[in-house]
Symmetry: C2
Subunit: 115 residues, 2 copies
DNA sequence: TCCATAGTTCTAGAATAATAGAATAGATGG
DNA sequence: CCATCTATTCTATTATTCTAGAACTATGGA
């Protein structure tokens, strides 16, 4: 991962609302959540939520697909792992002693929720 | 870890200069680096570097101790691990399947560099 | 076609963060 | 105790991000 990508990802996460939304998506797993679900969970006004989701998208942390009237957001787990790996890269001068390479390898989305 | 602590830590890392400095410290391990070392590596003017280091300190990501005229900065590995754990907490709805609890357990600082 | 639902874009004022020069403080050696 | 080295604080300017109302677009059902 490039430094600029990591900065963008960290900046995207460095906000109470966005971090909360991202964590909900991480916990939701590969099926993701709709924008409406996120709005219901967080109580953020639609325009503000869109603004925040856009920041997460630009950073490559989440991706979304339309499902009828809803838009389903999902975490990009590869990007999540890459970010964690970047932070801990060569930790203590010896990569093998510290951080693992992969944190999460989620299953495919269920058929119901696949794009 | 509390959400506000995580946001503060992420915000502190969400900057090219600070991220670079933090990663240098992560790789330096428990012995840390002096402010002067960091300045030499990054080329950032002193006042600006202090400003950035202060952000990392406030966020609890690094701590420092004076050693003669120098100030030695070290990563707080517990905080680093807590942040990574917070991001991946209950990942995919099942903590045990995904993220590990601890990433790095560094040795104590060498005697030479201990406070 | 008409309506309700789900999200986005536009906009602009308010708040926060970044940058770095100059002055300052703290430690050590001569 | 003075010069020097190391780093911080003060300050002001510039730049970026946040917030959310209002208007708009897209989808699907009646």
């Amino acid at each position: 991962m490039e430094s600029k990508t990591a900065v963008a990802a960290l900046a995207a996460l460095a906000h109470e609302s966005r971090l909360a939304g991202y964590r909900l998506l991480v916990q939701a797993g590969p099926d993701g959540l709709s924008v409406g679900d996120l709005q219901a969970s967080t109580g953020i006004p639609p325009a503000t939520l869109t603004h925040h989701l856009h920041a997460l998208r630009r950073a490559g942390l989440i991706a979304d697909t339309r499902d009828g009237r809803s838009i389903i957001c999902r975490v990009d787990y590869a990007q999540m792992n890459a970010l964690l790996a970047f932070l801990t890269e060569n930790c203590c001068g010896d990569a093998s002693a510290c951080a693992p390479r992969t944190v999460c390898k989620p299953d495919r989305p269920t058929r119901r929720n696949r794009p």
